[in-house]
């Protein structure tokens, strides 16, 4: 028995000794499979040794058993690791074999764009809605009542010269609205103050088109009605609006003006964005650009809308979207906005 035990131990040692080298030589999966069969298969060397163990004395089994089992665990683990490594290596090789000129162009997706007017209108409305101004809309085909009379511009008022108007044939009571201000009246008649609205929309002026004027353009109207609204509220709101739109260091100038539907009335100028106030052709050498007309809602407008001008107060303003778009995007001619040349539209 001692001899066979000795022999068993020698065989185990020999197997342990050669295993590492054999594994290192197995460089492809089939060779590894073979090793696995040779060592751990049904008739494998280690399986054999384990079988023989069962025929040994209890004492021998106690001392030799753990040796054989440790080797079995070791070998199984090493074969698995070797297998994983080979698989990794073969995949790596397969991947390396793929050839690619990654500098070739990618498949173009159709890239769309929103019109600059939409983009700038959204910016304006976005700032105003952060201040809690709700969007309101009104019709383009308006009546003289809403477009003029309710805004304190009775028939034969000289201020009608400021807004040349398109009228409909066969329907003399209807016109294309010349400003978004009629929305003020519609909202005041439909909702009780306090009220804060932003009304974006298209307006029409009966005048020939040139580089800075169009017969069609877009406005955003703002209206705030509450108790004790004051001129300083208007100035502060407009300052916020334009600093948000054009940057915190924008120069602003708030000066008197005249509109029939507001009093006091004001205009807001911003320091010329192109020359920084030095004076250029865009600002006509003044260093300032007119951006917006505004004022405190005229008591007669409240009266027309059915409110008492002493109870309620408010401010209103209206600005051209095109003008802001042209300045922000450096578009030199308003007509470019309506030509719809893709080379232009794709830039924004």
């Amino acid at each position: 028995m001692a001899a066979s035990q000795k022999n068993w131990k020698a065989r185990l040692a020999s197997l342990e000794k050669t295993a590492a080298a054999s594994l290192a030589r197995a460089d492809v999966a089939p060779k590894l499979e073979k090793l696995q069969v040779r060592w751990l298969g049904r008739k494998g060397l280690l399986t054999q040794l384990l079988k023989e163990l069962s025929r040994m004395s209890l004492a021998d089994r106690r001392t030799l058993g753990p040796l054989a089992h440790r080797l079995k665990t070791d070998l199984t683990q090493q074969i698995e690791e070797r297998k994983k490594r080979l698989r990794r290596e073969s995949l790596q090789k397969k991947l390396q074999d793929i050839s690619l000129d990654s500098s070739l162009p990618g498949v173009p997706c159709a890239v769309g764009s929103l019109h600059p007017i939409t983009q700038v209108e959204r910016e304006i409305v976005g700032v105003l809605s952060r201040l809690g101004f709700s969007v309101a809309q009104g019709p383009i085909l308006e009546t003289d009542e809403y477009n003029f009379q309710a805004l304190n511009i009775p028939p034969d008022h000289p201020a009608r010269d400021l807004q040349d108007t398109f009228y409909l044939a066969d329907h003399p009571q209807l016109l294309l609205r010349t400003h978004t201000s009629p929305v003020q009246i519609r909202m005041l008649r439909a909702h009780r103050p306090p009220l804060r609205i932003a009304a974006p929309g298209r307006v029409f002026r009966h005048e020939a088109t040139d580089a800075s004027h169009g017969a069609v353009f877009h406005q955003v109207e703002g209206l705030y009605v509450d108790r004790r609204v004051c001129l300083a509220d208007l100035k502060s709101t407009l300052a916020y609006l334009f600093r948000e739109l054009l940057g915190p260091s924008t120069l602003l100038r708030f000066r008197p003006s005249y509109f029939p539907f507001t009093e006091p009335s004001a205009e807001l100028d911003v320091g010329c964005l192109l020359c920084g106030g030095q004076g250029c052709s865009v600002c006509k050498k003044s260093g300032w650009l007119e951006m917006l007309g505004a004022g405190m809602v005229h008591p007669k407008v409240f009266e027309q809308a059915g409110y008492s001008g002493s109870e309620w107060s408010g401010f209103a303003f209206g600005m051209s979207v095109e003008r802001l778009a042209m300045l922000k995007l450096r578009i030199p001619d308003i007509r470019l906005l309506y030509e719809n040349d893709m080379r232009f539209l794709e830039q924004f």
Binding site: C109, P256, D341
Partner: protein, 812 residues
């Protein structure tokens, strides 16, 4: 309006700003100085600087001297009558041929036997100042030989100032000076009243008054006539003439010039008639129908009862407040004059001036409103100037002022003013300083003041006007900026607005580009769309800018086709563009507007070619259909729409087009929600757009907004596995897929979870006249895993219903 700087300065003796420096204060007052125009002096470049070399007595005359002067190049021998000359002085020399003030031309003349080679000039002779006491001695450092006009500042400067329509008072020098005086804290010097006669509201003036009748005092609140018998005027003074010229007016006749002068000084238009042309009396009345008047513009105007005229007993003499008549005006031969100083109803003047297309200095002011009280002031000034400046003393005055209106009384609260402007610390003294010049009877009250605005300021109608007045004079830059503190938004966003935003974003993300077109079109463009204007008339403009833009678009298509043309010219073959906007319709002859979205696409997608050829794709009918479905799903408009194929739109393909109708209402009145399809090839041809198909869709956003699906709700997820079965059926080629859908709808089996159409096949291997549909059904039950047997049963039911309704046969 054009102002004379010197004229303003006459009212503002302390004015130290240059004309250009007035831009700033004017801007802060709400007036814009658009530009300044320096006036040329009255003398030309032949008046030069010369130095006196010798002064001797004239051999033939005691009072004259004979001077030798030099311009640095040559000497001149000059005969001169002045006594203030000595050797070494520099003086202005008008050489032979020079032009000096009052249009005098210097000629070579012999004076007491000696030729004078020019003339030494006084300040007055060069219209530089009023000094005629001697020759104008120039400073000793004045450069010799230079033309004098180059060394002197311009004699006056014209200022072109934009005056807003509510300030007719500032269409005058005194009005603008009044503003500047308050703004710049300067003393305002009013023209001195030199004539002792005061014109009162109920006058009893001397002389024989000329009869005046006013037909309706609401048309003409006040009419004051000044009759001037034997009015032989002196020449109109040079200085005043120059001011008129600075303001762009021409001198005509001393009396006419005087009315112009008062107009520009006080802003009150007056008119001079030849009294001998007036029969009996002045009547202010409406024109009779078909009356005519030959006005000073040389035109014969046809009048109507809308027009107010100044007439005599027989005929109209002038268009009230606008323009005088040609044959009743003052001319050289005029001996007796009648001056009119009146006010008229502003709306009447404006309407008449508009309808006759006459805009005059007078109408511009009267249409904005001039208070009747102003008449006294203007008439008084007129009389003063008549006496002082052109030597007409004799006069008779008639003043018709039947119903003097009540003057407004404004109650001003200092606290309210401060609150409204956002200036709580507003000082009483400062406010009063600003209120005083625009008020009569400024009276202190406990709250603030009670005042009546001066008649020149009809714009001051309430406390709100006083707010503006105060803000302007304090300066809008004094209005403080505050912290914003707004409550949250009060009204919800209109659903139509959010829908438009969503649709625009969706299309952009799908690769479409938004365009923006004018709302105008014309008959030719619509004709090229095969549009029948008789059957569906378009909304027409009464006053289009041209016939090219005379109609409002009933569809977005004309604009989009123009855009396709524009881009085709640039060689852009492939396009995907859309527009959201308004279209206009006449419904039972009532104009209405609709918000709609239209899109047009042409060529391959993506539009750029790629080295992997298979990536490009030409969209067709079913792409269009897919896009529309996506738009409806993404905007949560889950709708069961009725189809109408082909579309009834005239410009779409007779086969490749479809309408989708909203489900409400009887069949005939179902409303079109969306139309789409290929543009009719004849339309492409008419628009010169070639053979490539154009695909178009137009979606009615108003209708889409009003159809709504509720918010999404959770449906339990299937617990049990689903089974899929594919099978093909053979049907007649005539049958449409919609029939299959309808058939399956009748079955509406609860275990059918989904059905997809995998393939449509027509051709080789199929029986004649048949086609094959391959469908994939997904079956699932919420309660259990379905057994094969159950699936076979449903499948049999499906085949049965397809067989019954379409004669479908399972394809083996």
């Amino acid at each position: 309006m054009r102002f004379s700087y010197l004229w303003l300065k006459e009212f503002l003796p302390e004015l130290s700003q240059t004309p250009e420096e007035l831009a700033e204060p004017l801007l802060w007052l709400g007036f814009e100085l658009s530009h300044t125009i320096p006036q040329r002096p009255d003398h030309d470049s032949q008046v030069i600087v010369a130095q006196i070399e010798a002064v001797e007595k004239h051999p033939q005359a005691d009072r004259l001297s004979l001077c030798r002067v030099t311009d640095g190049q040559r000497s001149y021998s000059i005969v001169c009558g002045a006594e203030n000359l000595s050797v070494g002085q520099k003086v202005p020399l008008a050489r032979i041929g020079a032009k000096i003030a009052q249009n005098r031309k210097i000629e070579k003349v012999k004076i007491r036997g000696i030729f004078s080679e020019g003339m030494l000039c006084s300040g007055k002779e060069l219209a530089h100042n009023e000094d005629s006491s001697g020759i104008w001695i120039l400073p000793s450092d004045t450069p010799l030989g230079s033309p004098l006009e180059r060394l002197l500042p311009p004699p006056d400067t014209a200022l072109e100032v934009e005056i807003p329509p509510n300030r007719p008072d500032c269409l005058s020098h005194l009005g603008l000076a009044r503003e500047l005086a308050v703004k710049l804290r300067l003393r305002l010097q009013l023209p001195e009243a030199k004539d002792p006669i005061l014109i009162r509201e109920a006058p009893n003036p001397p002389g024989t008054p000329f009869p005046v009748e006013i037909e309706n005092s609401s048309d003409c609140p006040r009419y004051l006539a000044i009759a001037l018998p034997q009015a032989i005027p002196r020449a109109f003074p040079d200085g005043m003439r120059r001011r008129l010229e600075t303001c762009g007016l021409r001198s005509i006749h001393p009396i006419v010039d005087l009315t112009q002068y008062v107009l520009l000084e006080l802003g009150h238009p007056t008119h001079a008639f030849d009294l001998d042309c007036i029969q009996e009396k002045i009547v202010v009345r409406r024109a009779a129908p078909h009356e005519t008047l030959k006005a000073l513009d040389g035109q014969l105007h046809r009048l109507s009862p809308e027009c107010l005229v100044i007439a005599d007993a027989r005929r109209p003499l002038a268009l009230a407040g606008i323009l005088g008549g040609e044959d009743s005006g003052v001319a050289e031969k005029t001996r007796n004059v009648l001056l009119e100083c009146a006010t008229f109803r502003p709306s009447l003047i404006r309407r008449t001036a508009k309808s006759l297309r006459l805009q005059t200095q007078a109408s511009l002011r009267f249409e904005k409103g001039i208070a009747p009280e102003n008449v006294s002031w203007a008439a008084r000034r007129l009389i003063d100037l008549l006496t002082q400046e052109i030597g007409i003393r004799e006069r008779a005055i008639t003043d018709r002022y039947p119903a003097p209106p009540a003057r407004p009384v404004l109650e001003i609260s200092l606290e309210a003013l401060g609150q409204r402007l956002g200036l709580p610390e507003l000082a009483r003294e400062e406010t009063e300083r600003i209120l005083k010049p625009c008020s009569e009877n400024l009276e202190k009250t406990t709250e603030g003041w009670r005042l009546t605005p001066i008649p020149q300021r009809p714009d001051l109608q309430g406390p709100w006007s006083i707010e503006q007045e105060l803000a302007r004079h304090l300066g809008y830059d004094r209005i403080p900026e505050r912290e914003l503190c707004y409550a949250p938004s009060i009204l919800p966003e209109p659903p139509a607005f959010s829908l438009e935003q969503d649709l625009k974003d969706l299309l952009q993300h799908l690769g479409w580009t938004e365009v923006c077109n004018y709302d105008f079109t014309n008959e030719r463009e619509l004709g090229n769309l095969r549009w029948d204007l008789e059957a569906s008339p378009a909304v027409r403009l009464a006053n289009p800018l041209s016939s090219e833009v005379s109609l409002l678009r009933p569809t977005h298509l004309p604009g989009l086709l123009r855009n396709v043309q524009t881009n085709l010219r640039q060689g852009r073959e492939a396009l995907q563009i859309f527009e959201v906007g308004t279209t206009y319709h006449l419904q039972k002859n009532n104009p209405s507007e609709t918000r709609s979205l239209a899109a047009i696409c042409r060529g391959e997608i993506p539009s750029k070619s790629h080295w992997q050829k298979s990536k490009a794709h030409s969209p067709d009918f079913f792409d269009l259909k897919g896009w529309i479905e996506k738009l409806l799903i993404e905007t949560r408009k889950k709708l069961s729409l009725h189809r109408r194929s082909p579309s009834t739109l005239c410009f779409l393909h007779p086969v490749l087009s479809e309408d989708r109708l909203t489900p409400q209402g009887p069949e005939l009145n179902k409303e079109v929600l969306v139309s789409f399809g290929q543009i009719h090839p004849l339309v492409c041809e008419a628009w010169g757009l070639g053979q490539t198909p154009l695909w178009f869709l137009e979606l009615d956003l108003d209708r889409l907004t009003h159809t709504c699906a509720g918010p999404p709700r959770y449906r339990p997820l299937a617990k049990y596995p689903a089974s899929q079965r594919d099978f093909s059926v053979l049907v007649s080629k005539e049958h449409t897929w919609s029939l299959a859908l309808e058939a399956l709808q009748t079955l509406s089996h609860p275990l059918i979870r989904q059905m997809e159409l995998l393939d449509v096949f027509e051709g080789v291997g199929l029986p004649r006249g048949r086609k094959s549909w391959t469908m994939r059904f997904t079956f699932a039950s919420p309660e259990k895993t379905l057994q094969e047997q159950e699936i076979l049963e449903i499948q049999a039911q499906i085949l049965k219903v397809l067989e019954n309704r379409l004669g479908a046969v399972l394809r083996s």
